[in-house]
């Protein structure tokens, strides 16, 4: 039985991991774009993004997931997501990417605005372009500032993947829960917890490493 459970959980973990990685891959760049958008001098753009961030942060991720997965089918008459597991994962990734991009954008903005104005001024008087200043001066200082808040969000993302269960994506929590429903077993639930702990443990080590790596400057 132990082996069957382990295999099931590993299967679920694979889906969890997929959602996690893909969400990061889309939400990180999207969050940076949104951050620049909020800081834009073009007021309508900045206001529009602030409203988006308000709506997304102000409503439950689970609700957003339900709307994105079932909404198109209800409105268009046909589902844009394929009915199989891949379609469910894709819908999850879309909902999660939008949601996390909004949270990331706020962290990014804080990181960028936290770099003293004197840094870009020093770059300007040395004849650097705005792009050079961002990539050669601001970016690394910003990354150093945002590692602690980002680690919080990213660890939350690991556990939020369990929300995908609501649209029947077979992720880790779903996998553990199914043994309780089918065989009345509760120990797989704790076993499932161990999987999450290991996942988050590895991430924590990774963040500690990055923080240490950036410790050489202040």
């Amino acid at each position: 039985m132990f082996w069957t459970v382990t295999q099931s959980l590993l299967n679920g973990l694979l889906t969890t991991f997929e959602i996690f990685i893909l969400t990061l891959a889309f939400a990180l760049p999207l969050g940076l774009i949104l951050a620049f958008g909020t800081m834009s001098k073009f007021k309508p753009l900045s206001a529009l993004i602030q409203i988006l961030v308000w709506v997304i942060r102000g409503t439950p991720l689970m609700l957003q997931l339900i709307v994105i997965f079932y909404g198109p089918g209800m409105w268009l008459g046909h589902n844009i997501w394929s009915g199989d597991e891949a379609g469910r994962i894709m819908a999850t990734v879309v909902a999660f990417s939008i949601n996390y991009a909004c949270y990331f954008s706020v962290i990014f903005r804080g990181g960028i605005e936290g770099v003293p104005a004197g840094q870009s001024e020093a770059g300007l008087v040395l004849g650097m372009t705005k792009t050079q200043i961002f990539f050669k001066i601001t970016l690394l200082q910003m990354i150093k500032r945002i590692v602690p808040p980002m680690s919080n969000e990213i660890i939350t993302l690991v556990k939020d993947t369990s929300l995908a269960r609501i649209i029947a994506a077979y992720e880790l929590t779903f996998a553990g829960y199914s043994f309780m429903k089918s065989a009345g077993l509760t120990w797989p639930l704790f076993y499932t917890g161990v999987f999450y702990l290991l996942f988050v443990g590895i991430l924590t080590l990774l963040f500690n490493y990055v923080e240490k790596k950036l410790d050489y400057f202040r």
Binding site: G123, L124, V125, L126, Q132, Q141, R218
Partner: protein, 261 residues
């Protein structure tokens, strides 16, 4: 011909007039000190010269070339603006060194980036970078920092950081080097080493504009002095005359606070 000619500069932030009809000229190889109390517009004037602020009126010319003319309200492109900025170097009150780079990297970064845009860069990359590094090391040695080239800014004292900042500003060989209260953020015992370096630059006939609160230093090092108050130039002239024998009442008042102490 004057190396720098500033004419009728006006600057306001909203309804606050910060600079009013500021005009002066500088000769090549001379040092100009700008004195005055906080809020008199000294720093804003330097920032206008470095294109960190855009004046609302007036012209700025270097070596006879008009770099800025408020009457020509055309928008300057980024590339053009960069070239104009390179006529001036700037040393900030708060150093503004790049914390993630070593002293040497701070000095060479801008030069490396400029070199990378040259057409011959790819072919001669090694030699070009070696030459830039060599130049950076020379400048740091000139600042007395040969032993500190591989240190990061947070490992340096305030005086050492400011000397790195001076080397960084010199690296691009600006026509005019500007100092914005270079010793105001330093502990009193560290100001000497920075003033000594600036004095050395004056001896080598570096064209400089120094905004400072060090009156004795201004008198000894500068050829000319401008006293500003309320956004206008109240008095300007040879350094010794302005400090030792001021004509204007406001200048006398301002200077008396320094000589009493």
């Amino acid at each position: 011909m004057a190396i720098l000619e500033v004419k009728n500069i006006e600057k306001h932030f909203g309804s606050t007039q910060v600079l009013r009809d500021v005009s002066f000229t500088m000769e090549e190889g001379s040092a100009l000190a700008i004195i005055g109390s906080s809020g008199s517009g000294k720093t804003t004037l330097l920032r206008c010269l470095n294109f960190l602020e855009t004046p609302n009126g007036g012209t700025i010319s270097v070596k006879g070339e008009t770099l800025f003319d408020a009457a020509m309200q055309t928008k300057t492109g980024d590339k053009e603006l960069r070239e104009k900025r390179l006529h001036f170097g700037m040393v900030f009150q708060s150093f503004n060194l790049f914390p993630q780079y070593t002293a040497l990297e701070n000095v060479t970064l801008a030069e490396r980036l400029l070199a990378a845009e040259q057409p011959d860069y790819k072919v001669n990359k090694k030699e070009i970078l070696a030459r830039i590094d060599e130049h950076g090391k020379e400048l740091l040695a000139q600042m007395g920092l040969s032993e500190r080239m591989d240190h990061y800014p947070h490992q340096l004292s305030g005086g050492q950081q400011q000397r790195v900042a001076i080397a960084r500003a010199l690296a691009l060989k600006p026509d005019i080097l500007c100092f914005d209260e270079p010793t105001s953020a330093l502990d009193p015992e560290l100001t000497g080493e920075v003033l000594k370096v600036i004095r050395g630059l004056a001896d080598q006939k570096t064209t400089m504009i120094i905004v400072t609160h060090e009156m004795a230093f201004a008198r000894d090092v500068a050829d000319n002095i401008i006293f500003m108050d309320g956004g206008v130039i109240v008095e300007q002239g040879p350094a010794h005359e302005v400090i030792d024998d001021p004509k204007e009442e406001r200048t006398k008042q301002f200077l008396s606070r320094y000589t009493q102490g």
